[in-house]
């Protein structure tokens, strides 16, 4: 095949093709969410895989992506007021979030807390379970 024809085909293919750089996806979450079979979780959690925290726990959660994402939002949702990330930082492929399990409410219930993470082309929700200490 002549070089000119090859060039023609190459240019056409390049022109027709979509630019589809691989969307970053989550490789790991540390600590890893575990299946939690508490009755309340089964009833109210949309996904019963949670990171369990004890009252007063300060924990850093690290989310590792396949490649550096372009973050859109790191936020919180209903019932998240006790475990909102106090700070978060994205360095390359690693997103670190510091969370504090703080309960000063009078409720007898534990709740699922959600930290939604959105990046260009994807999204997920990290779910936490902030367990209050047993009352005396």
């Amino acid at each position: 095949m002549k070089p000119a024809l090859l060039l023609m085909l190459a240019f056409t293919a390049a022109g027709c093709g979509y630019d589809t750089p691989e969307t970053p996806y989550i490789v790991s979450i540390d600590p890893q969410p575990q299946l939690h079979d508490h009755e309340t979780v089964r009833h109210y959690s949309l996904v019963p895989y949670l990171i369990r925290l004890k009252q007063e726990d300060v924990r850093t959660i690290t989310v590792t992506f396949s490649r550096a994402p372009e973050l859109v939002a790191v936020g919180s949702q209903a019932y998240s007021q006790y475990v909102n990330p106090t700070s978060w930082e994205l360095v390359g492929r690693e997103l670190s979030m510091k969370v504090y399990c703080f309960r000063n409410d009078s409720s007898d219930h534990d709740y699922e807390h959600r930290i939604p993470i959105q990046w260009v082309g994807g999204g997920t929700v990290i779910r936490l379970w902030c367990e209050r200490e047993e009352r005396q």
């Binding site: 070089p3 000119a4 060039l7 023609m8 240019f11 056409t12 293919a13 390049a14 022109g15 027709c16 979509y18 589809t20 691989e22 969307t23 996806y25 089964r42 009833h43 109210y44 959690s45 949309l46 996904v47 019963p48 949702q77 959600r114 939604p116 959105q118 082309g121 994807g122 999204g123 997920t124 929700v125």
Partner: protein, 150 residues
């Protein structure tokens, strides 16, 4: 390379690029998972009032399930919400877009079993044109009545 060949090469390249930009707003080509017709009349009064469509995605109970939505071209600014029967947002879902394929991970828990939910996907194309689609999702205690079963 002769000038006419250079011209033809450039023309092909321009044509290729032009094809790509023709579609300003991507549209949904297919939704792969358990998208089927149900009989609203057999759902009972409550659900037939709630359900606006009789084409629904029927989930299996428990476990993660992935729905794949194929667009005609890669959409921009995707946003996803799952609304429960009262219209309130249950949760943002796990989703990932690979080119034209959007994979959405859902989990049918006890909380939403036996309910009719709506998965809303918003996206945009070029020049700020937006589109939205609402996909009814049935999270069953049992399968809703299929039309052919009647």
């Amino acid at each position: 390379m002769k000038p006419n060949r250079i011209f033809i090469t450039l023309l092909f390249a321009v044509l290729g690029c032009t094809d790509r930009e023709e579609e300003l707003l991507p549209h949904i080509v297919s939704i792969d998972r358990n998208f089927r017709e149900i009989d609203l009349a057999l759902l009972g009064n409550y659900w037939s009032r709630e359900a606006k469509h009789n084409n629904v995605i029927v989930l299996d109970r428990g476990g993660f399930q992935t729905i794949t939505v194929i667009f005609s071209s890669p959409p921009n600014n995707l946003e996803m919400k799952l609304h429960d029967r009262s219209g309130s947002v249950l949760d943002a879902q796990d989703y990932i877009l690979h080119g034209t394929a959007l994979k959405i991970k859902l989990y049918c828990t006890f909380y939403i079993q036996g309910t009719y939910n709506t998965l809303t996907i918003d996206w945009s194309g070029g020049e700020g044109i937006n589109s939205t689609v609402s996909i009814p999702v049935w999270c069953p205690f049992e399968d809703p009545p299929a039309k052919e079963d009647r």
